[in-house]
Homo-oligomer: 190 residues x 2
C-alpha cells in the first residue's frame, strides 16, 4: 500500500490535493493507511489511457524531429510513431529508425491508413499552422506542438505545446526580476 | 502602434488581460489607440532580460542533449551554450558544434570560469537530481530540466521542466476522457 503523504512527497504537492484528485476519479483509499498500489496503478493507467498503445505521426524530420524519433523514452511509454511527414523531396521515401517518411500532400490518406491519433509538429514556426490544419483535416484530434508558434485549432482538437524558448524566457524573466529586486534592496540608503 | 485587441489576438488571450499584464509592468498605452511598438519592444525586452546574452551549460550530451545543442533557435534568441558536461569518459574533451565537453566532476570550477547562468539538464531521470544538486552547488540559479523527473532545488533556484511524456500523457488523458464521454452519450437509451 502507499499513503497519500508518500504520493504527495513524490509529486511535490500536498497530501490533501492527492486525496482530492484521486477521489475525483472515484479512487478511494483506506482511511489512515493509504491506497492499494495495484488498484491505483490499474485505475490511473485506465484514466490516462496507458492501457493501450497510441499511434503518433511526426511532421517535420529536421534536427528536432530526428531527435524526437530517436528519443527512446517515447517508445517505452505507450507511444509508437507509425509515420513521419516532410516537405523536402530528398527526405521523402527515406526511413528513420524504421519509420517511413511520407510527403505532406499524402497526409490525409496516410493518417487514415496508419491510424494516426496524435500528430507531433516539429516544423519551423512559419509552417506550424498550415500543418496543424492538415492534421485536423485528416482527422487527428490530438496535437503535440514543438514549433514556437501558438497554433489555432477547432474546439474538438486538443493541443499541447512544448516550447523550449518559452521555458528559457520564463527562467530568464525570473532570474532578471530576482536580481533587480536584489539590486533594489542593496541600493536602499542605510 | 498596436492595439491590445491585436496583441490579444496574436497571443490567443483577451484584450483586457493584455492591458492588465502590461500595466503591471508600468507599460501604459494610449486610450482607444494602443501601444507604441518601439516602446513596447524596448520595455518587454528589458523585462524578460532579452537585452543581453545568457550563458547556458548543458548537462548530458546524449541524443537529446545533442539535439538541443544543434537546435539553432536557442542561439538566435539571446542564449549561448558555453560548455557541456557529461559523465561518459569517451565524450569528455570532444567538441560538439564548437562546445567543449567537460567532465561532471569539473562542474564546480567550469561553471564559475565560464560564467554559466542557466543549467540545461538532458540526463536520464535517475541522474537528474544528482546533477541538479551539482549545478546548484556550483552557483547556478536557473535550471531547465528535460529529464522526466521532478527535481527538488532550494528556494532561490528557479526550475522549469520540459517533459515530452507529460505533455503526451495530458493529450492522451484528454482524448481518452473525450472518447469515453462520447461513448457514454451514444450508449444512452433513446
Amino acid at each position: 500500500m502507499i499513503s497519500s503523504a508518500r504520493l504527495a512527497d513524490i509529486c511535490g504537492i500536498n497530501p490533501a490535493q492527492v486525496r482530492k484528485d484521486l477521489t475525483y476519479f472515484g479512487i478511494v483509499g483506506v482511511r489512515g493507511v493509504g491506497y492499494f498500489v495495484k488498484e491505483l496503478l490499474f485505475e490511473t493507467r485506465k484514466i490516462f489511457g496507458l492501457d493501450r498503445e497510441w499511434r503518433l505521426g511526426l511532421v517535420g524530420v529536421g534536427n528536432l524531429g530526428w531527435a524526437i524519433l530517436r528519443h527512446a523514452q517515447f517508445m517505452s511509454h505507450g507511444y509508437t510513431f507509425v509515420v513521419a511527414f516532410d516537405g523536402k523531396p530528398n527526405r521523402i521515401g527515406t526511413r528513420i529508425g524504421g519509420i517511413e517518411v511520407a510527403p505532406l500532400e499524402a497526409m490525409n490518406s496516410v493518417v487514415k491508413e496508419k491510424g494516426v491519433e496524435i500528430g507531433v509538429i516539429a516544423m519551423k514556426p512559419e509552417f506550424a499552422q498550415e500543418v496543424a490544419d492538415m492534421l485536423v483535416s485528416a482527422g487527428v484530434c490530438g496535437i503535440l506542438n514543438y514549433a514556437p508558434f501558438q497554433i489555432q485549432c477547432p474546439a474538438h482538437v486538443f493541443v499541447e505545446s512544448v516550447d523550449f524558448n518559452l521555458k528559457l524566457d520564463i527562467l530568464r524573466y525570473r532570474l532578471t526580476s530576482a536580481r533587480s529586486r536584489g539590486r533594489r534592496i542593496r541600493s536602499r540608503p542605510l
